[in-house]
């Protein structure tokens, strides 16, 4: 077959090269197939080893890529991605308040939303009322029922929710309506005539008060 005086490349002699299994069957193909089965019969422990090697190395590579992707994907479950108005926030002057007449005040604070930071964002509003001892009482205006905004009606002296008709007394107690708990009180402090409120959000619709 090979010609002695000229260099011969075998691929010139076998133009079919390698044909996918079962496509065309020359004698050469038949020969190869026998080799495969013999090879398999001979190398069984080797095959097992190779299978394990493929599985372990492949899984390890997959884990290296999957761990950071999953870690990043699940990051928001355990971390706060939005923070707003932590600590005591000034909401107004004591001199603006009068006893017996709750006043609504906006809570403005810095909101950090992911990477962006916005100053002076209106987060929510609070109802403030001056007490005889000079301290200030504050309720979150968010209705504990389903999160609507409660209004103060001076005529009845109650906080009324326009959504589902919950009615609260001036001290926050439930008077009537579907709300499962009283209005949410907020911690306050008075410094140099300024009213500071520690603003918090609570889970709506539960009888007990849980931080959101």
């Amino acid at each position: 077959m090979p010609v002695s005086h000229k260099r011969v490349y075998r691929d010139e002699l076998i133009p079919s090269g390698l044909v996918p299994l079962g496509k065309r069957c020359s004698d050469r193909e038949e020969q190869n197939r026998i080799d495969v089965s013999e090879h398999m019969a001979r190398g069984e422990p080797r095959r097992v080893f190779l299978k394990w090697m493929a599985a372990i190395a492949g899984s390890a590579a997959a884990i290296v890529a999957a761990v950071p992707a999953l870690g990043a994907a699940l990051f928001p479950i355990r971390n706060r991605t939005v923070t707003e108005g932590e600590g005591f926030i000034p909401v107004g002057d004591v001199s603006d308040l009068t006893q017996g007449a709750p006043l609504k005040a906006a809570v403005r604070a810095t909101r950090v939303d992911g990477w962006s930071q916005t100053k002076g964002v209106e987060l929510a509003s609070v109802w403030l009322e001056k007490k005889p001892d000079g301290s200030v009482k504050a309720f979150s205006s968010i209705c504990p029922h389903l999160g609507c905004s409660v209004d103060y009606l001076p005529d009845s002296g109650t906080f009324n929710c326009p959504c589902h008709g919950s009615v609260f007394a001036r001290d926050g107690r439930i008077v009537s309506g579907p709300s499962p708990r009283a209005l949410d009180p907020l911690e306050t402090r008075v410094e140099d005539g300024r009213v500071l409120v520690k603003f918090e959000r609570f889970v709506c619709g539960t009888p007990d008060r849980r931080k959101a």
């Binding site: 390698l18 996918p20 299994l21 290296v64 890529a65 990051f75 962006s116 930071q117 916005t118």
Partner: protein, 655 residues
């Protein structure tokens, strides 16, 4: 229950379809047996999978808008759990894809595996190459940092040089007449939707075609094993030399990626070189042409091991050399654009063509090379695959000259930058801005965006004001005027020591009208060091000498002994023949001094410095003060500009 479930499963399962699909994937015959040298194609699939997975992770946080992009990438890198690794894998994975793709292509070519009926495999492969390059180009812009912004602008400006349709092409790609929000949304859509779809479809076609044709048996396995005196050995030496050359250069020069590139080149060069040596009959081959290996598990195990190695290198790089994030893109800030390393050869090519010939470098040469690559299977005809066959020599010569050309141009580009101190200076400034941006972004970025954050930062503003208002007279870091003292390391101990040694040095007051002070080199180095330490400490103790803390007493005593006090008073507000040094370098001193350097407290009548109290607003003045106070720590950290600060050598002692 179990039998019930089995029954249910057997009812819904398409009979044998899963097994058939699996078989179709795993059944491939490897002529001559499995080899590590065949891993590159599979490694590319794995690398693409890594890019896809990490890309999804990044997309959970990334925000494609001019105001948010940088900040969101910053957030990923510095706040999100595993963010650094996530972004690192994606960043270095892109480079790895280019590298492995290059090796895969070179190998396919060298083994002649693209000939005849495999031409379509080659052509789909070429398309995939361009898609991967497009991935790199679009991805580079997405962080919207200085580096990505400026480099990508150059690329789209080049696009505009295409005759007739250039402008339309540029506007279509950048989403309008200028870079902005629409550029980012467009690049993002291309990067995460269009290109992945194209790549997946083409890759499936590429692999299916390859499977259909079957792998080739590299010619050395079919070769008559007797050494052939007629074989053109130079063809063998050429690729090996090119790859080793490449490895050497990259080790020395690709600074951030140096060892990874070199290792990858070596890893690619060794098997190719040994196989070529085998084919030349230089090394005896134990291959039995009759042996046929199987893809599963023989080849797949090797592919998995190689891929794990590559991914491990990427993870290590991400951990020890986090993916870079430059300062936020700002069109108003001077920046030296450089493309990613795999485009450096094209960048270098542009330097050789000017004026109307620019189009030769930007379009003609790359276009012609692309055409030849496409035409290769049509030109390199016949069944002979051996790289040693004389009829293939011209094509090998072309391909390896191309490879060598790419490496040489890359080398020249890096070399030119390394030899240019201006490049190094601009790089240092950019690094400082980047570090500062990351520092100020920690608490959140304002709604106007990250660039605004940096521009309103006092220290960064101070740097910019310095470049605008001060550096026509004062130089800093090797750039700027020479009429007034060089402020590199201003207020640091070494800077003060240099001043004490020779105030008349041109780098200090030599070029000004202030020549009253003589050299105090005669004090000796120990005393100069103590004196400089004392003077640099005054910045933190802006009080009258009576109130100095204990650690300043010795320095103060020395100050008096050296008779500094006879000219430079240390009593706050006391005028004298030379500048008052009470609280020297403190914010109060700098502010006062800059406001009017010509009062009796400072330079007096010989003052040539402008009255900055009139030129700058109070805020701007504070920014410059903050900036100047930062120069000392900068140099003490860096030990740069050693020549300026080193004590004079013996023999050049001051007269």
């Amino acid at each position: 229950m179990a039998t019930g479930a089995k029954k249910l499963l057997s009812e819904v399962a398409p009979r044998g379809a899963f097994a058939a699909a699996l078989r179709a994937f795993l059944d491939e015959r490897i002529p001559g047996g499995a080899r590590f040298v065949y891993v590159f194609g599979s490694a590319l699939v794995i690398l693409f999978a890594v890019q896809a997975i990490t890309g999804i992770g990044l997309a959970l946080y990334y925000s494609p808008s001019a105001t948010n992009a940088w900040a969101s990438v910053f957030y990923i890198q510095h706040k999100v759990a595993f963010g650094q690794l996530l972004r690192g894998l994606h960043h270095y994975g892109a480079s790895a894809m280019i590298l492995v793709l290059g090796l895969h292509m070179l190998q396919t070519f060298t083994f002649g595996a693209y000939k005849q009926s495999r031409a379509f495999v080659w052509w789909t492969g070429l398309l995939l190459l361009f898609i991967v390059i497009a991935f790199g180009l679009t991805g580079y812009l997405l962080p919207w940092d200085q580096k990505g912004y400026w480099a990508t602008r150059v690329a789209t400006d080049i696009m505009a040089t295409v005759p007739v349709i250039g402008r339309a092409l540029q506007y279509a790609l950048q989403g309008g007449n200028e870079y902005g929000n629409l550029t980012l949304t467009r690049f993002y859509a291309i990067h995460v939707v269009i290109l992945p779809l194209l790549l997946t479809g083409l890759a499936v076609g590429h692999v299916a075609l390859f499977r259909r044709m079957g792998g080739i048996t590299p010619s050395w396995r079919l070769l008559d094993r007797r050494p052939d005196p007629a074989a053109k050995r130079w063809v063998l030496t050429l690729p090996v030399a090119a790859l080793l050359f490449a490895a050497g250069i990259s080790t020395a020069l690709f600074l951030p990626l140096g060892w990874a590139v070199a290792a990858a080149c070596a890893a690619g060069a060794i098997p190719i070189a040994t196989q070529l040596a085998r084919s030349a009959g230089l090394v005896s081959s134990k291959d039995d042409p009759a042996v046929v290996g199987e893809f599963w598990p023989d080849q797949l195990a090797r592919n998995a091991v190689f891929s794990l190695g590559v991914v491990a290198v990427l993870a290590a790089l991400s951990a020890y050399r986090p993916a870079p994030l430059d300062a936020p893109a700002d069109p108003t800030v001077n920046y030296l654009p450089r493309p990613d390393w795999y485009f450096l050869f094209l960048f270098q090519l542009l330097k050789y063509f000017e004026g109307p010939l620019v189009v030769v470098g930007t379009l003609l040469i790359p276009g012609l090379i692309t055409l030849v690559l496409i035409a290769l299977p049509l030109l390199d005809r016949g069944a002979v695959r051996s790289p040693l066959a004389p009829q293939r020599a011209p094509f090998l010569l072309f391909m390896y000259s191309l490879v060598a050309g790419i490496f040489i141009l890359t080398y020249l580009a890096i070399r030119a930058d390394q030899k240019n101190p201006e490049v190094a200076r601009l790089r240092r400034e950019a690094d400082r801005s980047a570090a500062r941006a990351i520092e100020v972004a920690k608490d959140g970025v304002p709604p106007e965006g990250a660039a605004a954050l940096l521009a309103s930062d006092p220290r960064e503003q101070g740097r910019r004001l310095f470049r605008r208002s001060c550096d026509s007279c004062h130089s800093l870091d090797g750039a700027g005027g020479a009429k007034a003292p060089d402020l590199t390391g201003y207020l640091s101990r070494s800077w003060i020591a240099g001043l004490i040694r020779n105030p008349d040095d041109p780098r200090y007051y030599g070029k000004t009208k202030l020549h009253e002070m003589e050299s105090y080199a005669g004090l000796g180095e120990t005393q100069i060091a103590q004196l400089s330490k004392f003077l640099s400490a005054l910045a933190a103790h802006d009080v009258a000498p009576e109130k100095y803390p204990a650690e300043l007493r010795d320095g103060f005593k020395l100050y008096q002994q050296a008779e500094c006090e006879s000219c430079h008073s240390l009593q706050p507000g006391e005028e004298g023949p030379a500048p008052n040094l009470a609280g020297y370098g403190s914010p109060r001193w700098l502010r006062d001094f800059l406001r009017d350097p010509g009062t009796g407290l400072y330079y007096g009548k010989d003052n040539e410095m402008p009255v900055f109290g009139k030129r700058l607003t109070a805020d701007q003045l504070e920014s410059v003060v903050a900036f100047l106070r930062d120069l000392a720590p900068a140099i003490e950290d860096r030990h740069a500009n050693a020549a300026l600060l080193a004590p004079p050598r013996a023999g050049t002692e001051h007269r």
